[in-house]
């Protein structure tokens, strides 16, 4: 379990994390989402005791990590930045870490096996690919068989098979009653892996909710309507809280009216429909929407709008 309360971390003038509070519970995978620069890595460094909070506090398993008698049984962590001496072999790296906490040598071989690095365990870690480096990092996080596992962007650099492996591993670890806290900037990945989400932007909490709630929030359904009488139908549908966009002639994207209601309305007014389909907004879209105002670095296009493809937007009641 991880309890972050009122955490603020400043590096000089720059505030990386501002008054952040949340709890990561055991038994489930909790995703830590946010755009780059949102303060995810900083929060994780504070959890690991590497950085001291400017104010506020962090507790791991209801205790202060710095005072832990058996740190590696409390917390295993994979930080985004590499934490391996490049000239040392993977085996010796893990052995040196294991020895500090009295983890038996046999466990070193076991975790190397578990992450699939047996063939290269005696090779210099500096020669590892990004994916192999991530596997080594995961091995060191699991070494002490910890209650709480914190992984910063563990799937970066992994191939599809590796991603699937991490996903299953995290779920297994959580099913064993452990606290699993995983950061990512990919909402779609978190939707598959996590049960709960902590969303941050610019160092502040944006949302603390179950994945299901997020998905429900995200799927403000869009109804795609294809009709030769599109403009007539649009006039019929427009009303308060209804948004209609159109990307091509004869195709409407309707928000705020159910597919059934659109079908009935069209039937009543003798508007011919060639297509009526419900489309769920992607999670990535919903995540972007949620964090739009807090993205640290916007990529500006020439017309000044980074996101939102060109659309014809008509909204009743809210003239633009």
């Amino acid at each position: 379990m991880i309890e972050v309360s009122g955490l603020t971390k400043r590096y000089g003038e720059k505030t990386a994390v501002n008054d952040l509070s949340f709890t990561v519970h055991p038994g489930i995978v909790t995703g830590f989402l946010g755009p780059n620069g949102a303060g995810k890595s900083t929060t994780m460094r504070v959890i690991a005791g590497l950085d001291e909070p400017t104010s506020g506090s962090v507790r791991v398993n209801a205790a202060h990590y710095r005072d832990a008698q058996v740190p590696m049984a409390e917390l295993g962590i994979l930080l985004e930045a590499k934490a391996v001496h490049t000239s040392r072999s993977a085996y010796n790296h893990l052995l040196a870490l294991a020895q500090t906490n009295g983890v038996p040598r046999s466990r070193v071989a076991d975790v190397i096996d578990l992450v699939g690095l047996s063939e290269v365990a005696r090779k210099r870690a500096g020669g590892f690919s990004l994916g192999m480096g991530q596997r080594l990092g995961i091995a060191s996080a699991l070494l002490g068989d910890p209650q709480t596992i914190v992984l910063d962007e563990p799937i970066n650099g992994l191939d599809p098979e590796g991603i699937l492996w991490v996903r299953n591993l995290l779920k297994e670890l959580a099913a064993e009653g452990r606290t699993v806290f995983v950061s990512s900037h990919l909402m779609s990945e978190m939707a598959l892996t996590a049960e709960h989400l902590i969303v941050v932007g610019r160092g502040e909490l944006i949302a603390d909710l179950d994945v299901e709630e997020f998905v429900a929030l995200a799927s403000t359904n869009v109804v795609l309507v294809r009709s030769p009488q599109a403009s007539q139908l649009r006039d019929l549908l427009l009303g308060p809280d209804v948004t209609i966009t159109s990307r091509e002639a004869g195709l409407l994207e309707v928000r705020g009216v159910s597919a059934e209601a659109i079908g009935d309305l069209a039937f009543d007014h003798h508007v011919r429909l060639h297509g009526l389909a419900v489309q769920q907004a992607s999670l990535e879209d919903a995540f972007m929407e949620m964090t739009r105002d807090s993205v640290e670095f916007h990529a500006h296009t020439t017309n000044g709008h980074a996101d939102a493809p060109e659309r014809l937007v008509e909204t009743a009641g809210a003239p633009r």
Binding site: M1, A48, N61, T86, H93, L95, Q147
Partner: protein, 278 residues
């Protein structure tokens, strides 16, 4: 999810999987020994220091013996057989000091320090273990190579009958002192590495302290340099391992001054390690 029902620590499974798991100073020492022996650069640098102590000492001894016939009166007056055979230490101290810097700054450069300090979040045991392993290994290697340099040097000097035996006055103290000096230089290097967290900065400071500042001080008025010079680490070291008549400090005084330098550097490194974000 409501946060009202947080499990207590007792309800969380934080029991270590393996019996007897716990961080102890002895275990951190064992870990640092694994780290020390598993880096090729460490072993190479250590070998270089041995080669310099023994090889350079032999070279200086051989050259001194071969040119003895033409040596000036003042050269002959300054000659000391023990100091000559230990001449390589003047250079091998650089290799040992650099090794000390690298053993800590290398962890910062690669990011390994984050893994080390996460496994041992109290942090200071890591510094003590590094110092202990380093002092132990370099101590043994340096004393052995100082004896090797002494005996090889004396055998080369014996061709002109210039050699001294180990039980002659000051000989044993100088040989053991050379070993101790190298360890202390290495500890200062290690502390500089921990204090500056950067290889280039650490090595530059080490070189400045031992090789740049002493000759610069000689350029100052002697009323000034005479009061400060003996207390510089390299000169304090000379007092207990170098030419017996060359220093203002006594052998014990020199040793204490150099130990004070090393202790100050280590304390500064410990404070930064404990207080500052890693």
């Amino acid at each position: 999810m409501t946060s009202a029902v947080l499990p207590t620590r007792a309800e969380l499974n934080v029991t270590p999987r393996y019996a007897g798991m716990k961080v102890t100073q002895a275990r951190v020492v064992k870990s640092e020994w694994t780290k020390f022996r598993s880096l090729r650069s460490t072993n190479i640098t250590l070998l270089v220091s041995v080669a310099l102590t023994v090889g350079l000492g032999a070279l200086i001894s051989a050259l001194t013996a071969s040119r003895w016939a033409t040596a000036s009166a003042s050269d002959r007056a300054d000659f000391n057989a023990v100091a000559t055979s230990l001449g390589g230490v003047n250079i091998s101290q650089l290799a040992v000091g650099v090794l000390g810097v690298l053993l800590i700054s290398g962890e910062y450069a690669t990011g390994m320090i984050r893994a080390s300090l996460t496994a041992v979040p109290k942090r200071l045991p890591v510094l003590w273990a590094k110092l202990g392993v380093f002092a132990g290994v370099v101590g043994i290697v340096s004393v052995v190579s100082a004896f090797a340099a002494f005996f090889l040097g004396q055998s080369l000097l014996s061709s002109k009958g210039l050699d001294l035996s180990i039980d002659s006055p000051n000989a044993l103290r100088m040989v053991l002192g050379a070993g101790a000096y190298l360890v202390l230089v290495g500890i200062i290097g290690m502390a500089l590495g921990g204090l500056l967290r950067n290889t280039a900065a650490g090595i530059s400071s080490l070189v400045a302290l031992f090789f740049v500042i002493p000759p610069l001080l000689d350029l100052l008025p002697s009323s000034f340099s005479d009061n400060i010079g003996p207390y510089l680490p390299s000169n304090a070291g000379e007092a207990f391992w170098g030419h017996p008549t060359g220093s203002h400090l006594s052998a014990l005084g020199g040793l204490l001054v150099l130990c004070a330098w090393a202790a100050a550097a280590v304390v500064a490194a410990a404070i930064r390690l404990r207080k500052q974000d890693a």
